[in-house]
Every structure is written in C-alpha cells, then in structure tokens.
C-alpha cells in the first residue's frame, strides 16, 4: 500500500547529507568489519601455529583465502544487491561472516579453518562490501568523494583500533574465545545493513514515469538508456534490469580502459606494503623503526583518504577527478622507483608519508571514478567487477615479488616492478582520457558539462540548453 502511494511521488535527488551521513557511518563500519578484521586475522597466526603444530606457510594461506574470496565474490555481492536489495545483501553478508567466525572458534584442524575462516567469512565480507559502497554513491553527488573518503578510512582506523583489541581478547580468552567474540562484533554488519535505507532516485530520463527502487540499489530500473528510444514501460509495469542489461557497461570502451588500469594498479600497489619492512631490515633499520614505518603508512593512509576526498569535491577540481586519480597513482609509482635509493630510516620516512598519502587518496577515488564512467545506475555491478579484478593480482603479485627477491638477492627489482605497474596504470588511463578528450572537442559542449550538471540539478542553471532543462523537469511534459 505504501509503495503504491510512493509511485505517484516523483523520485528525489541525491540528498548529499541528512540520512546520507548515516549511510556513510554504516559503510565506515562495514569497512572496519571487513577490511580491518581481515588484516587482524594475522595476529592469530602465532596461536594457530602453536596449537596445530604447523609453520608460517600453512597459516599464511588463511589470510590469502579471505582476501581472495572477498574480492572474487564481489560481483556476487553486487548481483544480490541489484536483485534483492542492498540492505538484504549486507545483512546476509554480516550473518555469513559472523557464522564463519563463530564456527572457526570450534576448529579442530587448520584445513577446517581454511573453510570456515577463509571461505565462509570471506564470502560474507564480499556480500557486504560492494553493496555498501554502492549505496554511498547513490546518496551523495556533490560531496561524493568526501563521503567515500570518510567511509573508506574505516580500514585504516579499524586496523589501528582493532589490532590491540584482538591482542587483548587473545590474552584473556585465548584464540577460541577471541574468534567467538570477534564473530559477535562482526554481526554488527547487520546493523549497518539495516541502516541502508532504499531511496528512490530521480534519473534524467526522457520519460515522466516514476521510479521504484524496490528492485535495486537506488538506480532506476526503467528500460531506457540515454537518448535511445525503447518502448516506454506502461505506468503499472515495473521491470528489473535484465542480467544482460546489468552488465552492458562491460562493453563501454571507457570502462574497459578503466578495468585494464585497475589490473595494473592491483598488481603494483600491494607489493610495497608487503616488502617495505623486510627491505628496511635489509638496509639496516632496526625492528622498532621498521614497525614504525608501517604505522606511519597506516595513519597517513587515513589522512589521505579523507583530505583527498574533500579536495576533489571542491568545485574547481571536480571536473578533473580522473586527473587527480591518475596523479595519485602516478606519484605512487614514482615513489616506488625512488625506494632503492633510500637506504636509511630518515630517508624512508618521507617515502612512507608520501606513499601512504597517495595510497589513501586513490582508494577513496576508485568508487568515484567508476561512478563517473558508468553512472549511478550500473555502479553496483561495476564495483563488483572492479573489485573482482583486484583478486587475482592480490593473490599473485606478492609471491612474484618474493621470487624476484630470491633470484636477484635485492629488493630493487620488486620495487621497480611495483613502480612500473602503477605508472602503466596511470598512463593507460591518461592515454584513453586524452584520446576521448581530443575526439570530443569538435563535438558539442554538453559532454564536458555533464558532471557539473549532474550535481547542480538543484539550482537553476542559465547556461544549459533547453534539452537539459526539459529532462530535469519531467512533470512539465
């Protein structure tokens, strides 16, 4: 009954505040519970090694399995989010993840842990990560990058806070009790899911029919795409995006270029995190200082998340968001090239600061850049594909880096590889954007104003053409 009444109301514009901040808080907690808990699992390894009488290589698989499963099943998460709703996806994910952790507390062997902690918990995290991020993109337009920055800073802040908490839990309750209580903490994901209130967005459609978001995370499920003319659905008929339509963005050349650049990015970005401390120890930095380098990386990561998000939301930079993203990734690559020259603690600190800042910067911009390319409607599915593309490089590049260290005997090759991957990612995107720009210049202007027009729909804009104004006021037709 309430839904029928809603059909008569036109959709709303992205709130950019209000309940949107609750969504950001929810996404923050989702990031804390999934990314930070994944990183804190390595604290349990010493306990597992003692109890099951295995060595480091046996327990390291657990971490890789969780990371890999979370990324591999990200498209599944966006699929469920599209077909049922984001809320259901996140609640289901939270339920699965906490069941996985609770089951792990009864583990009798390491293989049992691979399944319960690696696969089940990883799957649960995958189901909540993508829908939560997509929801933030739906609720925000003007301040999208800032919202993402705050939401993604959860992984840094979460690791910072959760690591000592997990250590304390292990001391008081041993690893079984700690896993049980961690399962309870992770079930707070269900609370985040409850916060993800569905919203009916007004899309810039040529048809005056109202939208109903029951069928997905906020995007309009109507059949029309841009100026193409399809048979407009009858007033009573509501259609969900068909599976093929859902993945139509995969054929967009812009998205293909973006996907290629993400592949390179994921190959390069994890290596410095894994090999910074061993490299520092290798050149003679003490253990304390090396650990301090990692802490600096973590803290500056958070700073980069929030400040870069705020920066790219400024009116002057908003049009150049992709350029800012390429700049951040390119700077990371350059930093990596300089590492082999830095041989003392005093020189490695600025590297940690710069690398950490740009790492936080690009993480906050990934969803923003993706939504700029595919639009809000396909954001959920596109994010699923983007994070899926991260899975294989995350799994494969640290061992390749390790092989390089073993064969060459120094860390130079590993950092050079990382730098090359990051720079190629930035260059690929830059080339494609430049080509697109050169092709678009002789055509009309509206293409360039598109981002401005999206977010400034609330204020009357004298400069836009008749066509745009018409679209913004479907009620006048």
């Amino acid at each position: 009954m309430a839904w029928e009444k809603k059909k008569k109301k036109a959709g709303v514009l992205p709130p950019d505040g209000g309940w949107g901040w609750m969504i950001v808080a929810g996404c923050f907690v989702v990031t804390v519970c999934s990314r930070a808990v994944t990183r804190c699992i390595s604290i349990f390894f010493v306990e597992f090694q003692m109890h099951f009488a295995r060595d480091y290589s046996g327990t390291a698989w657990i971490h890789s399995l969780v990371d890999c499963t979370t990324m591999l099943c990200a498209p599944l998460g966006s699929l469920i989010g599209n077909h049922l709703s984001c809320r259901v996806a996140v609640i289901l994910g939270g339920f699965l993840a906490s069941i996985g952790l609770v089951l792990s507390s009864f583990a009798t062997s390491l293989e049992y842990l691979y399944l319960s902690l690696g696969v089940l918990t990883g799957l649960g995290f995958a189901l909540c990560y993508t829908p939560a991020i997509a929801m933030v993109g739906v609720y925000f337009c003007e301040r999208k990058a800032l919202a993402y920055g705050i939401a993604m800073s959860g992984s840094g802040i979460g690791t910072f806070v959760l690591a000592p908490v997990v250590q304390l839990l292990i001391e008081h309750y041993s690893w079984r009790g700690a896993l049980l209580i961690l399962g309870g903490l992770v079930s707070n994901l269900c609370v985040c899911g409850a916060l993800l209130r569905p919203i009916a967005l007004r899309e810039r459609e040529a048809y005056p029919l109202p939208v109903n978001s029951e069928c997905g995370c906020g995007a309009s499920p109507q059949g029309a795409v841009g100026p193409e003319l399809e048979r407009p659905p009858q007033p009573g008929e509501q259609r969900c995006l068909q599976p093929l339509q859902e993945y139509q963005f995969l054929l967009m050349p812009n998205f293909l270029a973006l996907a290629g650049s993400f592949l390179f990015l994921a190959s390069g970005c994890s290596l410095p995190f894994v090999y910074l401390v061993p490299y520092a120890l290798d050149v003679g930095v003490s253990h304390h200082h090396a650990a301090f380098l990692m802490s600096i990386l973590g803290v500056i990561d958070i700073v980069g998340n929030v400040t870069f998000g705020w920066l790219t939301d400024r009116r002057c930079l908003k049009q150049y968001r992709s350029v800012c993203y390429m700049f951040a990734v390119g700077m990371e690559g350059l930093c990596c090239f300089l590492v082999p020259l830095l041989r003392t603690f005093a020189l490695l600190v600025p590297f940690s600061v710069l690398y950490g800042y740009f790492d936080g910067a690009y993480v906050a911009l990934i969803p923003v850049v993706t939504s700029d390319v595919v639009g809000t409607r396909y954001l959920s599915s596109a994010l699923g594909v983007v994070y899926f593309l991260h899975a294989f490089p995350y799994l494969v590049s640290p061992p390749i880096g390790g092989w390089l260290v073993d064969t060459t005997g120094t860390y130079t090759a590993t950092f050079l590889l990382s730098g090359f991957a990051l720079l190629s990612s930035a260059l690929l995107l830059a080339t494609v954007t430049a080509v697109r720009h050169c092709q678009a210049i002789p055509r009309n202007r509206p293409g360039k104003d598109r981002t401005r027009e999206k977010c400034e729909a609330q204020q009357p804009d004298f400069m836009t053409t008749n066509k745009d104004l018409l679209i913004r006021n479907p009620a006048t037709l």
Partner: protein
C-alpha cells in the same frame, strides 16, 4: 677436567656472566692495566659469594711494563656455582671484577598465563640457548613439584623433546589442570627452570560478551527498522502536501526560464 680462560681488562666495577654446563676446573684471571702512579706490585684476593676465600691473598707483580695478571683455578662442582670476585687494592683504593658462574637461564618473561578451555588441549613450551641433556616437566601443587610422566599417562600428556625446545601438550583439560607448570632443562651440573601459568576456562566465559553483543545487534536493528517504518508512515500521511510543493517548484523554474 677442562680449563676455561676468562679475562677482564678494566679498572671499573664489572660483572661477567659465565654459563657452566658441567662440573669442571675453571681458571679465572683478571688482567689489570693503567694504574695511576705505576706501582711495582699490588695486593689481590678472591671472594666467593661475598665471603673472602681463605688463603687467597697474594702479591701480584707486574708482567710487563703496564699489566698485572691475577688468576686462580677453581674446581666447580654442583655447590660451587655462584659469584666469584677478584679484588685488588692499590694506594687506598679497591677495585673488583665479578664473575657469575651459573647454568644457562631461560630469560623470557612469562607473566601472562596461557588460557585454554575445558575439554580442549593446550601446548606449553620452553626454549633455551644451550642444549641440555634432557628436559623435565613438573606441575606445582602449592609448594611441591610433581613430575609429569608422559609415558605413564599418554591420554593426558605428550612431551616433545627437540634439542633446545620442549613442548608439553596437555589433553582433555579439566579445571584441576590449571596452575603452575615448571619446565626444567637438565644439565650435567644442575637444572635450569622456568615456569608458565595455565588458566582453564569454561565455555561460558566468552559466551557472555558474545551474547551481550548479539542482543545489542538485535535491539539496534529492530530500533532502526521501527524508526524507518514510523518515519515512512508519517511521510505518507502528509503525501498530499508534497505534490503541492512540487508544483510550486516547477512553477518557479518556469518563471526563471
């Protein structure tokens, strides 16, 4: 018997630790140099555990231009481990150097107890730098130690001996298994001991915070959904006004255009 050389070249108070693994004869020598005013001889004697050893006082003559060598051979048996000091006086001053003779010590701090659960198993370990002849595990009952015999009780205990490391696995834990466990590295001359505390919890202990958090989650979810439903029903009751506002807004836009 073997001879072990040690020498100190300093005037300051210093302590040297020596690890003794088996009974042997040891020669401790103190080499003193750079004494002001360059006397021809000095008087020295030895102390054991703070008490002067009888007949140890002797006059030491210079070996070469600057140095005095003051040494003595000690026969170290089980009861002879302790502090040995060579003390020498010149003018009005007295200097001494102390040798600490003892078995290798396990230095890692074990102040935090190891926690486990009823029915579970737990692994306690001890590490030491030098390889002992064998290891032994004891459970402490108040003041006395009870030897743990793994072969006599294989259902409850397993002991793993591996050169410098030993691991005691206690299976089928019960509440009585909690307490202080002592691992003893047996050297020929003496044993070196370290202890670790074991705490056995029942399964209910971690369940309490878990159930608390689950209840909090259920309450929050219910509250959020109820708030949304309440908010929605309030909005629906005022839905007639909203079409009016829309109309006003579009009329404004038309005016501007």
């Amino acid at each position: 018997s073997r001879l072990l050389w040690s020498d100190i070249t300093t005037l300051l108070e210093s302590v040297l630790e020596l690890e003794i693994l088996k009974p042997q004869k040891i020669e401790l020598s103190c080499i003193i140099s750079d004494i002001p005013n360059n006397p021809t001889h000095i008087i020295g004697y030895w102390k054991k555990n703070g008490n002067e050893i009888e007949n140890s006082k002797q006059t030491v003559y210079k070996v070469d231009k600057q140095r005095f060598i003051f040494k003595r051979i000690f026969n170290i048996q089980v009861n002879d481990l302790g502090n040995y000091s060579c003390i020498f006086s010149y003018l009005d001053k007295q200097e001494q150097v102390t040798f600490l003779l003892k078995v290798p010590v396990m230095k890692d701090k074990r102040d935090k107890p190891i926690v486990s659960y009823v029915g579970d198993s737990v692994v306690l370990d001890c590490k030491i730098k030098r390889m002992p002849n064998t290891w032994q595990w004891y459970k402490s009952n108040g003041t006395e130690k009870v030897l743990i015999n793994a072969t006599a009780d294989p259902m409850n205990y397993k002991i793993l001996l591996e050169k410098n490391v030993t691991k005691l696995t206690v299976l089928n834990l019960t509440e009585e298994d909690a307490g202080k466990y002592i691992c003893s590295a047996v050297f020929e001359i003496k044993s070196s001991e370290s202890h670790v505390y074991l705490k056995v919890l029942s399964l209910i202990e971690p369940l309490k915070p878990f159930i608390g958090i689950t209840i909090e989650v259920v309450i929050l979810v219910t509250l959020i959904l109820l708030y949304e439903r309440y908010g929605r029903s309030r909005n629906d009751s005022s839905v007639d006004d909203s079409s009016g506002t829309d109309g006003r807004r579009t009329r404004q836009r038309n005016l501007v255009h």
